[in-house]
Amino acid sequence: MSKHRIELRAAPHQHSGHSVPTIMRNVVYSLLPICGFSVWQYGLSALALLLTVTATCLATERLLNRNANTLGDWSAAITGILLGLTLPPAFPLWMAIVAGFVAIAIGKAMFGGLGHNPFNPALVGRAFVQAAFPVAITTWVPAFSANRFSEFVPTTFTAPLMMPPDIVGWVKQQGVDAFTGATPLARWKFENVTASAHDLLTGTVTASAGETSALLILMCGAYLAIRKFMDWRIPVAVLGSAALTAWAFQLYDPAHYPAPLFVLLSGGLMIGAIYMATDMATSPVTPVGVWIYGVIIGVMTVIIRYFGGLTEGVMYAILLGNALTPLIDQYTQPRVYGTGRKEKP
């Protein structure tokens, strides 16, 4: 019964061949090495955290989309893994469940699901628990402790709604030398000590589960960019503008402001620039807009880190960039061929 017909369509006519599930699946693959490194570094607690958050995100997605099964597009899995990677490794699991639920329910489903969310869902979840549990989200544990594969950090299995136990005593038993309980950024802010680039690249510092090794994240990002699964301009714009801003500050007062390399490699900037700022639904579509968006995130990150009350600024910088995306898109629309440029009488 099929018959040939001529289809008339407006541009674009070319399709890259990547469907949404393909892209999302590849993003998940590229995240697996980072997850693996995180588990190797922090042991059972990090594994439990990543699994719990991802499972919560998938369950919430399923629950809130009763008419259509949207798990197949892998987007909820990405949100879950990314959210898990930005939380501290010993984050209590019940709080992680809250974070995962908020990420999907408030960050995504409420706006109509994939593609309609104005903000990155993983960051919405993280911002919520950051505001709700400010103490737990800044409680860090040492990496590579001896029994990390045989026991959990005591905070992991905190009873729901209860306060996590104090882990200072537990950390002391681990026999890790010189553990300060502060991230490199916090140590810079409050003690003016900067960590070495080598430590930051290889990930032997205190941080969230998945933001320790800048080198590994960079390599995974390179894979995605080469396979054209993400827009390389965004990480380049974010990292470049952050480095330039940091360099300008250092030129102004070298004693007080750290080197650009420290700014680039510390905290969540790397994972934020590569995996979160590039979220397709929440970043601009025009080429010029993408650069503007990236620069706003990079500059805001450095400014929040230097002058804000918090030690880390990537999360709020990206959320701000997300909020500006529709505006950026509106003002950077390309000229339609044959119109504009000159006003004809």
Binding site: P134, V135, T138, F190, E191, G309
Partner: protein
């Protein structure tokens, strides 16, 4: 509204009379309410002040309000005069002066942090603080109430005046957590620096103003 909307405007005198009538009813109501609640309000305010002062000056049983001006100190009647500084003198059951309490305020993370501090005339130091009002982040900024280590700063915070009696001998200063060396320094709470600094700045400002006015006349407070 069932009656037809009148096309003519109402006469001015009717408007004036109605407004005047309503205004006088309201005036009577307000004056009545003011008269009948005034005593209870004053009593509440006194209890509140006493409770706050007793907290920073343990052992006190009676509080009097004073004002310190460049021309001396006197009991407070009415409003605080220009350039004056209100403070509370606290006495125990036997009428012995237990100390002085005064208010300090500094800009915190969210809003002004207002504290009341207790001052001991013998050691010329601050021996306790209590928060009067603040809107700092719960769990972080409110450590200034709960953090025992931080409150130890105010066991004997040095606020001696200098020889010319013009200012404090050593300005009260907030230092980084764990680096307190002198009796006039306040050890900040790690992670709640903004709030701690607000308290430190507020106390410094208040003490710089009050102590030079108060110390030369402190004997007048003794009964």
């Amino acid at each position: 509204m069932s009656e037809p909307i009148p096309v003519h405007t109402s006469p001015s005198n009717k408007m004036i009379i109605t407004m005047g009538l309503v205004a006088s009813i309201c005036g009577v109501l307000i004056v009545g309410a003011y008269e009948s609640t005034q005593d209870a309000i004053a009593n509440n305010k006194r209890i509140m002040v006493e409770r706050a002062v007793f907290k920073v000056l343990p052992g006190a049983a009676k509080v009097s309000e004073y004002v310190a001006t460049p021309s001396g100190i006197q009991a407070l009647t009415g409003n605080v005069p220009e350039g004056g500084m209100k403070f509370y003198a606290a006495y125990d059951q036997a009428g012995v002066l237990k100390g002085i309490a005064a208010e300090a305020a500094g800009k915190g993370y969210a809003d002004m942090v207002r504290v009341l501090y207790g001052y001991d005339t013998k050691c010329q130091c601050i021996i306790g603080i209590g928060v009067v009002s603040m809107r700092e982040t719960p769990g972080i900024g409110d450590k200034i109430i709960t953090d025992k280590e931080f409150l130890k700063n105010f066991d004997a915070l040095d606020v001696r005046v200098n020889a010319e009696m013009s200012a404090l001998a050593n300005a009260v200063k907030v230092v980084k957590h764990g680096s307190k060396q002198n009796a006039w320094e306040i050890d900040a709470i790690a992670g709640a620096t903004v709030t701690t600094k607000a308290v430190g700045r507020g106390i410094n400002e208040s003490a710089q103003k009050l102590m030079p006015l108060l110390v030369p006349h402190v004997k007048e407070l003794l009964p």
